[in-house]
Symmetry: D2
Subunit: 361 residues, 4 copies
């Protein structure tokens, strides 16, 4: 209820601050007998890990995950899986210039108003560091999906826009995503993004981004009518990621400009199977998965931690300015790619169990 648990049947509860001794998570509701070890989780964390290129924060965190419970002899037991990552590079520094004032665009102010107290070291719980546990939990969710869905579920994300520079969708190649530091599916954009981001970084500024994710081989029938629509839960999951300001499914906002004839994906039998002739729906109709690819996009705002002096106020109500030094991502959208994938995996695995509960296997 206080909002640190995600999901209904597959549940991830996370804890920990940016500058505490560790961060952790508990995954409850995992079906038993699924092979699971740390090696199933670590690679996903490595993709999100900071300090891997000059375009992300230079904080050095190995983000080494440990499983502390819930498995026995290499398999899940159906009991809660505790995951933990020690904080290693939480530098002791002088916070006097930010502890008494609020960073514009940051959660500093709202945490203060809500709780009357905040852990100003590194943002505490509002730090993007919190998303590491989402990625770890998402890795467990992927195992659940792969265990229960014949053929497995493939969830992939890519960066499709940085600032106002968009990829060319015609050159989309999933294989490219792993070959550049941006998760870009278009090799042609990499150099332009590099030079743009170098400029942003040198200016001590930051920029936004748009991510697109696709989940393939999702069974039809996931999701609930009315309030717990699959796309509703996806929207909430994405919007819950730090700095996300917009979410859309399939044709998304563009659907508003289509005619009924163009928008509705027609249907035809093909090799004895029902198929759709388009995917404006993004794989969800009436809140329930249709068996098509789930297609989701979300927008990430520019980081609020920038070097330019900004006007702000102090906690005791005086006008002042603030400059946020330290090691920050010039474009948090980049590292949001693995986080978005993880959240999508968590939503799908939860709904898979919910569907199995009500409608059977």
């Amino acid at each position: 209820m206080a909002g640190n648990t995600f999901g209904h049947l597959l549940r991830l509860t996370t804890w920990g601050e940016s500058h505490g001794p560790a961060i952790g998570g508990v995954v409850d509701g995992v079906p038993p007998l699924i092979p699971l070890g740390e090696a199933d989780i670590q690679p996903w964390l490595d993709r999100r890990r900071p300090g891997q290129s000059r375009f992300t924060t230079q904080r050095q965190e190995p983000d080494r995950v440990r499983i502390l419970s819930g498995t026995f002899e290499g398999k899940t037991t159906g009991t809660p899986i505790a995951l933990q990552i020690d904080n290693v590079d939480a530098r002791s520094k002088d916070y006097s210039d930010i502890m008494d004032r609020f960073r514009p665009g940051h959660a500093d102010y709202t945490y203060w108003v809500k709780y009357g107290i905040r852990d100003y070291r590194g943002g505490g719980r509002s730090s993007a560091r919190e998303t590491a546990m989402r990625v770890a939990g998402g890795a467990v969710a992927r195992k659940v999906l792969d265990h229960l869905v014949p053929g497995g579920v493939r969830i992939r994300g890519a960066l499709i826009q940085v600032g106002s520079l968009r990829i060319d969708r015609k050159r989309w190649d999933w294989d490219e995503v792993a070959r550049n530091p941006f998760f870009a599916p278009d090799a042609g954009i990499v150099e332009r993004w590099s030079s743009y981001l170098d400029g942003v970084r040198k200016a001590g500024s930051s920029c936004g981004a748009v991510i697109e994710m696709v989940a393939e081989n999702v069974p039809a029938g996931l999701g609930q009518p009315v309030f717990d629509k699959l796309d509703g839960d996806i929207a909430r999951a994405m919007m819950s990621i730090t700095a996300v300001k917009g979410v859309e499914i399939g044709a998304g906002f563009g659907a508003a400009e289509l005619s009924g004839e163009t928008n509705a994906d027609e249907m035809r039998m093909k090799d004895g199977k029902m198929t759709f002739l388009g995917n404006n729906a993004g794989g969800v109709l009436g809140g329930i998965s249709s068996g098509q690819d789930i297609v989701v996009r979300f927008a990430v705002k520019p980081t609020s931690s920038i070097l330019s002096p900004r006007r702000t106020v102090t906690i005791d109500g005086r006008d002042t300015e603030i400059v946020t030094k330290g090691r920050h991502d010039p474009c948090v959208g980049i590292r949001a790619v693995p986080v978005g994938e993880a959240m999508l995996a968590l939503v799908l695995a939860d709904h898979l169990l919910r569907q199995r509960a009500q409608c059977g296997p």
Copy 2:
């Protein structure tokens, strides 16, 4: 869990099909001693009621709400409030042309795959008729907000785009909204939308729309960090409305194109109060309300029920075509305005109670 309940502390559970005897809802968790009668709810339902102009469905439903429990001598008692609306104009008709085949872009197919059974009369539970109870529940949520927040919370919505025709934001006038059948805040767009929609309607087609909502005087501090962010819950609430495909908060997708300097709303003291110098955040920072206006937009796809013949398949797997006759909204986005407002009210009232629980009054 099966998805017909919304909210945690203020909860709306709805039931009923388009062509059953009635639709209803139960609002649980309402604080006691709030004056509440049917007259507090009916006006909001009247705004959503079909058949009020030639631009919405011609089904005639008085949508007369009754309160069956939870109040005593004109005040809430803290016990569940049951709301009910009889279905009056559910015409008996011949469904043979739709009962054995799926409307493209409609939930027909996914309900069938999920449940193996569907109430094909009028769409059953996937009908937009279901949203009437959201409006009724939202009316109760407004009363809760007004009772607990000094000065009350004002939640208003407007249609800002129909097809590709956008309003001129410079001419925004909230008073206009009640004066035209589109909830348009720009008097200058009304004639253009009228003639455009007449064309859509005569062609038996449909079109999409974009709605914007603003909540004023929302206390700072609502929302939970991490998974239950206020904007996450708002996104889910909007995406759960029939036909919605995208949601954004504040600058939304546009934030991706802003620089860190431009995007972050600076802060200054004014008359002894902290104020923001912009509202790209849309009133939410780090998932918690900042005290600024909450600004939300969502996109509605064109109705899938259209007169043009579309390619589809039958439930026993044959290719065929379908034409959807009957009384449908050419632009469901219009009547989505009061529905969006209601969902926003439900989210805010729920978070207000959650905040009161954890952090006190």
Copy 3:
């Protein structure tokens, strides 16, 4: 959260006061394609119905249930099932002698302190009338159990003690339960209870009772370790029934006096199947069903509505006396039998769906 919803995957939400126009319930999460009509529910309500003998309240309520949603052509559709019963015999009477003072042992005082308002007509929401919807919801749960468990699940209850008069367990005959107005499984006790209760009734007094319930053919594996133990949820379900003050499973409080050797039910193979050589566990080990009969007992206190004058206080703090006239059950424990069965059915059906979600069919 406000406590009018029961269950996680199979959920019953109830509403309505003793003296309002109707009472109702919504059952959400029911699997689709289960044959269900009003005739499946009415017989269970008839067992609980008041006015069937001189030993229960003389209020005449036909308790005719209507299904308002969630079924189509005689089968469940997977969408919420709305149930409704009109209040027929809510006599208009003079409440002036109870509206300003509290009945000792009744919820009058605590509702008043909690909410600052109460519907004093017939007890409002704290009336035993509320349990009718539990019975209706329990009837739906029975259908779910019978649909999903091969051979069905049999849930039966019996009255085993009235005041201090206990049945003779050696004469237990389930067939007797339907033959007397007490749900007594021992024909030999009926006359003694009749004459004892006649005395209680004539004295304007009331008495307590103990109920025992047995669920047969419950699959092994239901329940969750740690907090959501099956017996924990059963205990909560029973204790949530009006006037219940104690619950026990299997040997119950008696287990405290057994040695480890006597208490633990030994195991042996029999015809290739594992069997237990006793059932002190009452069918639950470590919070999980063992496949044995689930055996539950609960104690019901005497009704607080009695004719003898009792010392009490008024809402404005004056000492006074109170006499509760009206039509009351001298022994509410009798009608608690079908209510207990219904709650047990709801718990078991919910856990059956939960087990299917996590561990599969």
Copy 4:
């Protein structure tokens, strides 16, 4: 949903097995600004710690708790509080004699049937070791209660029966509880229990017990009508403790034998305050606290881990016998006292927040 989280607004999620590296818990929903350190939790754990007398298990666990998140400069921040205890004395031993067969009366069999896998080392998740985290979480709940309720809430438990040996209630002295290894409130029973338990221990047997708990200064108004009654949630909380088989409130099962006149606690004004003239209700009327002492009793069965050979079956279906060596409590009921107190604290603190949410401070 998988049952490792307790509570709605104040939530405890626990994880960890008896023989894993550690056990842990996350407490979410704690109000901010409450002073909290490890020293507030450790003393409660010390009371439950094994190996403190010859009457409990000889496993040596310092049970040293660490707080890993959720506090800043000695105060709660409103974010999740992670608690952790390393397992120190989980002896490596030969499990070959129990890994392939089931202990009668133990959760071995039901875990196996439910999950198809079990951590047989020390019982895994079904071990009483799991209750340590309940005590730690309960310590946090006590801080919440003391912070929010003027004068604080006092929750105390005592052992009132071992085997069939009951205390003399007339000699009840709370000060005695800390002076003997049994939490006995009656000094006169200590020697009898000692010699009885020595006999049980030497015989390799075990015995049951009954615990009574009293919560003082609980505000009136806590609890929800209908399904979430305060006593219902207490009953579930107690029944969820390992080995508990029965729960009762106030007069409990004894209420069945009382007349309406005797049972109902009369009311009188005293010094301008409403008072009850008895407490058969145990502090709860209609599911809502009355302001009187909350009085709860629960029965603990004898441990199933005993030295006498018992008939059982193997996992592959052969008849055999089993003897459970190792370090076990001859009477788990003793150490259940601090666990019961902790669970009562968790229920009360959760309902306090729920009440504040709906009805205000």
